[in-house]
Subunit: 147 residues, 2 copies
């Protein structure tokens, strides 16, 4: 099961995608729109910013905005960042690999092969799902930021 943090992050990113190209969005607006605890959301947005997905503008009329185009961010990136890995076992993880505890020979381990297939399918599905797939983008009246 994904953690609330991961789910909140997806919701926040989805919301920011829907406002892409339209200037900054208040944390409080995201919190209200997606029904998220605002202080917790602050931490999450900060993490997303540190990871390069978001930009921010402090002070009055400030807020957050997506740096990349929504079609350039996918769910695998978000899930992996907050969950640490997409795999269900360390031995089939790309990002958090550790030797298998189930077997002597990882090349022939049946458990590993099953969980590897699951990991690969999951990764592929999440990777294929872009933020742009989650919202109706309106690119007609997009504006430039003055940062």
């Amino acid at each position: 099961m994904l953690s609330k943090k991961t789910r909140y992050a997806i919701l926040a990113m989805k919301h920011l995608s829907s406002k892409y190209g339209k200037g900054v969005v208040l944390i409080s607006d995201i919190a209200k729109a997606e029904n998220l605890p605002i202080r917790f959301l602050e931490n999450i947005l900060l993490e997303l910013k540190k990871n390069g997905y978001l930009g921010s503008k402090p002070g009055k009329n400030g807020g957050y905005y997506l740096i990349k185009h929504p079609k350039e961010i996918n769910l695998a990136q978000i899930v992996r960042y907050f969950e640490g890995t997409i795999a269900l076992l360390y031995c089939v993880s790309e990002k958090a690999y550790q030797p298998c505890e189930f077997c002597m020979d990882e090349r022939t381990c049946k458990i590993k092969s099953v969980f590897k297939e699951i990991r690969n399918y999951t990764y592929q599905k999440l990777e294929q799902t872009k933020l742009s797939d989650l919202v109706d983008l309106d690119e007609s009246d997009s504006i430039m930021y003055s940062i």
Copy 2:
């Protein structure tokens, strides 16, 4: 990521499968063979017994044994029992369903559909993997229990 408890349960069940039809197995032997903390393993075996997978024989010459044939137990059952659900979101879970937090309309929610596909694939793979697939069964000299 699966919890240690779930992973230990799979290891214990795998070990008991390899001894299927050959009488009881000491907790301490399972712990030694699979390198598991014995007191924690006791709890896990007890849970597996309460769930109907294992039988036990207390007292001298006692131990645990698989009740069902290894081909009648699959990984989905074990994972679901210890993890609570196989899904990554409640809204796509069969056993722990809760309404979706991501959308107004679950029928058209893209996030839900992606995670539903992942859940279905995962379930199918785990369900197809029987304990008998994990070990070399030797059914030639199986014996009957005298319980």
